[in-house]
Amino acid sequence: MIVAEKLSKYFGSKKVIQDVSVEVQRGAITSFIGPNGAGKSTLLSMVSRLLKQDDGIVYLDGKNVHKQKSKDLAKTIAILRQSNVVQMKLTVRELVSFGRFPYSSGKLTQADEQKISEAIAYVNLEELEDKYLNELSGGQRQRAFIAMVLAQDTDYILLDEPLNNLDMKHAVQMMKLLRKLVEDFGKTILLVIHDINFASVYSDRIVAMKDGSIIAEGPTDDIIQSDVLKSIYDLDIDVHNISCNRICVYF
């Protein structure tokens, strides 16, 4: 379980996160939603030790994140940031094998190679494994990064806007893939996501942020309500039940 206690972060004199406390349950998809600049990405960065908070503590399975060895953490928690623009010419397999770095420091064993092949197969990129990343489409590239995270074999997976630059088909594929990870391997997934309907259909819990604070939090059905959404987005949003999914209409 991830527990954040009274986290605060300043950029200069500007408070981007203030007194945020949140608990994230294991074996579920938790989506962080909210308007731009709400501090969602910053929160994820602090939880994953990429960024040090100015105040507060993050506990990962009961242990203070910033007091643990970075290398050990890399075996429990993985994060993918917003832009995965790769300027380097790497093949899919090379990228995925980075995921084994925390275990082997680059000297891949037979077992590592096995894990890498499995991860590539899981996201259906076997045929493209020797292609360079810049030769792939956006959706394929995103899947390659997911495969890397799979190879990293962590209980917790944090994804910052994983649907960015994906068309509808690939966005759906991606979310189904994440759902499958939770069902197959019991992974705990945290997402920052902008499309409210994707959050509604695929996540177990939703955390809504605004101006550096959490303003609503709970099971998806409790958050996807017209009045709650109004308070988050300042927008009149109708919520309809369509084939057992709660769909927001806000156009």
């Binding site: 960065s45 994953s48 030790r49 990429l50 060895k69 970075s70 290398k71 050990d72 953490l73 890399a74 075996k75 993985a78 994060i79 993918l80 940031r81 790769v86 300027q87 380097m88 010419k89 790497l90 093949t91 090379e94 980075f98 995921g99 770095f101 925390p102 420091s105 680059g106 000297k107 360079y132 990293q152």
Partner: protein, 316 residues
């Protein structure tokens, strides 16, 4: 392109390099153990060949490490100002430590080069605009400022003659006893090879590297220290050799990709090969005189660089 072929061509050229020069050395002369021929080879030709190979390998790999760590294909010891800082360091050591041993000179030059490169990296982190072309331009500007300062003090203290010998790479003065400093680069290159995987991961960016548990700052610093020392050693013994650190890693990247484990040896060997070609050509073109290798590399390098730029665009 197989590494084996590259190595064979390089060895052949290195062999040729021994027999090019004003004093006629022939293979049969060496075979018949003529003392004269052996003297020339041992005192002049062999040191020259060895220093070309070492400088070529070192500069290629230095460029590769810098391009990787800055995530920019146009950064190299030349375009980041590392070479200019090293020259300023040499000037300082000439001014204040007149009788300095080569090792002390190298240490001072390396310290300056390291400081300059760290400064460049610091500026790079603060830059809002991470444009690919903009970054090396900043480095070149910084380098030119430093270089002007060096020239000013060199003028003031009558050291221009001295300084200019480090301005342009030249192998013609290399002789036994004047190039051994270059051997320092050998253990550093081995170290670079051991860190190859980590440099590759670091090249993916700080967040990416931290996520994988890599001590990012530590790895970057190791890389920059290796680059600073090697660059200083090369400048002290041979002089500034432009472009090599820029184009050789780019050529290798085209056919081997950017994983250092796959590209580091190719880059080293191709660096040596490139420098050997430039040096031999420089010695033949206006025989019995010779064109300094710095100039040759500049001319040939510009050509290749232009071709690369145009080709890149065609594929982008």
């Amino acid at each position: 392109m197989k590494l084996m072929y590259l190595v064979i061509v390089t060895v052949l050229l290195a062999g040729c390099s021994l027999f090019v020069g004003v004093e006629n050395v022939t293979f049969s002369g060496l075979w018949n153990r003529e003392a004269e021929a052996w003297n020339i080879v041992m005192i002049s030709r062999l040191p020259r060949m060895l220093s070309i190979v070492m400088a070529g390998v070192s500069l290629g790999i230095c460029g590769l490490i810098m391009q990787q760590l800055t995530q920019n294909k146009f950064v190299s010891p030349t375009t980041a100002g590392t070479m200019d800082w090293a020259r300023l360091g040499i000037l300082v050591s000439l001014l204040f430590f007149t009788d300095a041993s080569p090792i002390l000179k190298m240490c001072i030059a390396a310290a300056f080069a390291l400081f300059g490169t760290l400064l460049f990296m610091g500026i790079l982190q603060r830059l809002k605009q991470k444009d690919t072309i903009f970054i090396p331009l900043v480095g070149i500007m910084l380098g030119n400022v430093v270089s002007s300062i060096a020239t000013f003090f060199a003028l003031k203290f009558d050291l221009v003659q001295n300084m200019s010998s480090w301005l342009q790479g030249d192998f013609s003065l290399i002789m036994e006893g004047r190039y051994e400093l270059l051997y320092i680069s050998v253990p550093l290159l081995i170290l670079a090879f051991l860190f190859a995987n980590m440099f590759t991961v670091a090249g993916m960016g700080e967040d990416f590297a931290t996520n994988l548990g890599l001590p990012y700052k530590y790895v970057v610093n190791i890389g920059l220290i290796i680059v600073a020392i090697i660059t200083s050693v090369v400048i002290l013994t041979v002089g500034v050799i432009p472009f090599l650190g820029l184009i050789v890693p780019n050529i290798v990247s085209m056919y081997r990709g950017d994983h250092l484990k796959k590209s580091i040896w190719h880059t080293g060997v191709l660096g040596a090969l490139f420098l050997l070609v430039c040096d031999i050509a420089g010695r033949i073109i206006i025989y019995p005189y010779e064109i300094s290798v710095g100039l040759m590399v500049g001319v040939i390098g510009t050509g290749i660089f232009l071709y690369m730029l145009l080709r890149r665009n065609a594929y982008a």
